[in-house]
Each structure stands twice: as structure tokens, then as C-alpha cells.
Symmetry: C2
Subunit: 253 residues, 2 copies
């Protein structure tokens, strides 16, 4: 059977991760427990939440003094003013601020609700921030897995973002190591000789989406292994920043 087949495997549960814990060790243990091993062309997708927790990206809301601006918005929409303050601190630009929704651009350039600041799965009076350098986090995991298993898979750090015009959130890649985040078909031709000139596919985002399908949010499976993916076009490895649109080309600022 030579039909192209991808396996998307939710790796065994990780223990609860706390600031300073050895996340890479825990991921390695999960790979070992799965019996799947790891291959050079595998891709590990790790959810942002465990990465942020291990990196200590938690904020105790009791230490936050909200600004008047944060208090006004929070009061109008029934939000926690301290959490709004944290969102503003994590943002470099407000894209939309309406109906209680705060969509901002993070320092990384990601545009998402609440600058990626999230209160779920981190305990009371705490919120979780995005990793400072998700590409760096991805590279560290790739190196660590390489040291333990002798092969270096691709690594994606994923988060779930909403998007305009469509209901629901979907996974995206915020950090990338060891794989090409885009498949660029420009310059390739279809059967009719028509050049596929606008076809650049965000495969890292699609890989992150595939991983979400096995990573039940009520389960503790923050690591997914994708086996069998082959890029349809030759591309050099890149970074999560390759997926951030150039402000000069952004029609939705």
C-alpha cells in the first residue's frame, strides 16, 4: 500500500508541569512510554501551555496593579482588570477592542485574543503568558530529544487562535524548529501548464491542527507525534516568524 499516510499519535500523558520542571525529560519519557520511538522525519507538536509553565511564564494576579485604562475596559465588560492589565503588558498594538474582546499583536507579531494570555489550567489567581521565544523553546526541545534519542525530529510549539469570519479556534504554530513551516508551490505548474503562483501553504499550522485532533483539552496529552509527513516541495527549515505577515502586506491592521 503506497498511499501517502500520516499517523497522528497523542503521546502518553505528562505529569503536571510546574515552573522549572524538566519538560524535555518529561517529553522524552512520554516518547519512551509510547513505544513509538522517534525518527528524524517525525514532528513533535507541543502545546504552548506546558512550555510556558515549564519556563515559568505564570503571573500571580495578586501582584498586578491595573491601570485606569485596564480598569475601565474590565468594568465595562465584566472582566478581571488585573488580567486586562497583563494582556496590555504583553501587547505591542491593539488590533480590536470591542464587545469585551481584546485582540492584540504580541511582541512576537502574533495577532490573537488577549495576547495569548490564558487563565485555564493554571490554578486560581494565575494567568499564563506565551513563551518569550517560542522558536527558541522549539529548538531547545529538538536538541534535548536529539541528545537522548540520537535523532532530531521537527518540533512545533502550538497554540489555538481564533480567526476573523469563522467560528471557533484552530491550532497554529507559534514556534518551529527543524522543519519548513511553509510549502511554496510558486513556480510549479499544474497539468494544464498553469503556474500555481499564489499557492503558499502554511503546513506548520496544518500540522498543529492535525495534532489538536488527538489532544483532547480535558486530557493531559500536550505532546503529539506526527509520523509520515513529507513536504510536497523542497524547502529549507524555518521559524515560527515565517508565518507572521509583513506589516506592509497586512490588509487587516
Amino acid at each position: 500500500m503506497s498511499d501517502p499516510t500520516l499517523q497522528v499519535i497523542g503521546l502518553p500523558q505528562l505529569p503536571e508541569i510546574h515552573p522549572g520542571d524538566d519538560l524535555i525529560g518529561a517529553i522524552g519519557d512520554s516518547i519512551a512510554a509510547s513505544g513509538q520511538g522517534v525518527r528524524e522525519d517525525d514532528i513533535l507538536i507541543v502545546t504552548q501551555k506546558v512550555v510556558s509553565k515549564a519556563e515559568g511564564r505564570l503571573v500571580d494576579l495578586r501582584t498586578i496593579e491595573p491601570s485606569a485604562f485596564a480598569r475601565d475596559f474590565a468594568e465595562q465588560w465584566g472582566k478581571d482588570p488585573r488580567q486586562v492589565e497583563v494582556v496590555l503588558c504583553e501587547s505591542k498594538r491593539i488590533v480590536r477592542m470591542d464587545r469585551g474582546v481584546l485582540i492584540t499583536e504580541t511582541r512576537h507579531g502574533f495577532v490573537c485574543a488577549n495576547a495569548g494570555v490564558d487563565a485555564s489550567n493554571v490554578g486560581p489567581e494565575s494567568v499564563c503568558l506565551l513563551p518569550v521565544d517560542p522558536d527558541g523553546s522549539a529548538h531547545a526541545i529538538r536538541r534535548g530529544i536529539g541528545d537522548r534519542f540520537g535523532v532530531k525530529p521537527g518540533v512545533i510549539i502550538s497554540d489555538s487562535f481564533g480567526r476573523p469570519w469563522r467560528v471557533g479556534i484552530v491550532n497554529v504554530a507559534i514556534g518551529v524548529a527543524g522543519l519548513a513551516p511553509l510549502a511554496d508551490y510558486r513556480g510549479q505548474y499544474d497539468d494544464a501548464g498553469y503556474e500555481l503562483h499564489v499557492t503558499v501553504i502554511a503546513v506548520a499550522d496544518e500540522l498543529a491542527c492535525a495534532a489538536e485532533l488527538v489532544a483532547n483539552k480535558l486530557d493531559k496529552r500536550p505532546v503529539t507525534l506526527i509520523r509520515g509527513y513529507r513536504s510536497p516541495v523542497e524547502m529549507p527549515a524555518g521559524s515560527g516568524q515565517d508565518l507572521v505577515i509583513d506589516p506592509a502586506r497586512d490588509m487587516f491592521r
Copy 2:
């Protein structure tokens, strides 16, 4: 091994599909040739292009008389004015019209570049439109496969859309039959007792993304079978329209 695992299988190539061809028969033949069979909880993802072709949604550009509005925009940006005219005819609202890019809302409510009108893989002097009723197309495939194999899988009609702020296109679900397009975690609680109140996941879009990863655009594999997906929450089957945001909640009109 009880780790949740998804298989994403690019089914064998289909013959070139022309208007009026028996697409459901061709999909059935592809399933048969794959040796995979089909199960009640499988999901078939079929790309919009073959559906549109089978349904005769092709336009001969030589029959199109562009309006002055279409001619002006086309001339300014080096586009084919007849193709611009077709895009305008397929749109009910222009969302952005800038730098040669035309982002519009289709009659279905989808917001995408060029109203989904596409010139690739359809031969010269032709463009391909989205299906009139992608949910109806999905239901027809589901019924047809059910008649032949005795089981009715879920069916998604997929297309690739760009999105604001991020580089590249990703697959989305434009038609859905026999599965829940959303996984709604609202009212569920995390380990810390925090209600996951904003977590609605667009799983149909994520399934479409997973399919894209095996459907190389230069190959003729428009049908992907996903096996092993289980919705994390009990949801009734829905439609592609469930993924279209209510205009009253759209912050990016």
C-alpha cells in the same frame, strides 16, 4: 497501545473529473482500490475543485463581458478583467479591495480571496467556482458512499483560504455532512475547576487541514480518509454554515 491515533490516508488518484462525471462513483472506486474499506466513523475529505468540476461549476471566460468597475480594477493591477467580473458576480459583499487583492464574502457567507474563484487545474480560458451548496454536495457524497458500502462516513468539502495576519493558506471546511464541525467545551472544567468558557474548536477545519498534508497539490489525490477521530465532546452533526460567523459578531467587516 491505547494512545489516541489518527490515520490520515491520501486515497488513490482519481481520473480527471469533467462536468457531469460520476464523482461519487470515482470516490467509491478510489476507496475500493485503497483496500482501506470505509467505516461509519471515518471522515472523507474531498477537495472543492473536483466537486465543482463534477457539478459543472466552470465558467468559460470568453463568454464574460466585464463591467467598467471590473475593467478598472483589473487594469490597475494587471488582472484579467473577465476573471474579476466573475469574482464580483460570485460575491455579495467586498471586504477588502486593495493592492490587487479582492477579498469578498460569497453567497454562502465565506470570506476569502476572489470569492473562491480559481484558475488553476481547469485549463485555459476557464475558471472554477465554489459549489452552489457545499453542504448539499457533502450529503450527496455521504449518501452515495452509504449506498455502495453500507456505511455512511462523515464528509467534508474542503478549500484553502488565506487568513489575516498569517502567511500562507490553510484548508477549511466549506461543506459538512454527518459530523459535528465544532467541539464545544463550554461548561466543561479543567483540573483546577476553571470553566473552559471560550473554547469552541473548529474541528472540521482542523480535519480539513490534516487532509491537506497528504493531498499534494501536484498529485491527483483529492480525497483523503481520516480514521480514528473521536470528538472530545458529544455534539450533534452540523453543517458548514455552523463555521460561518454571525455578522452581528463579526469584528472584521
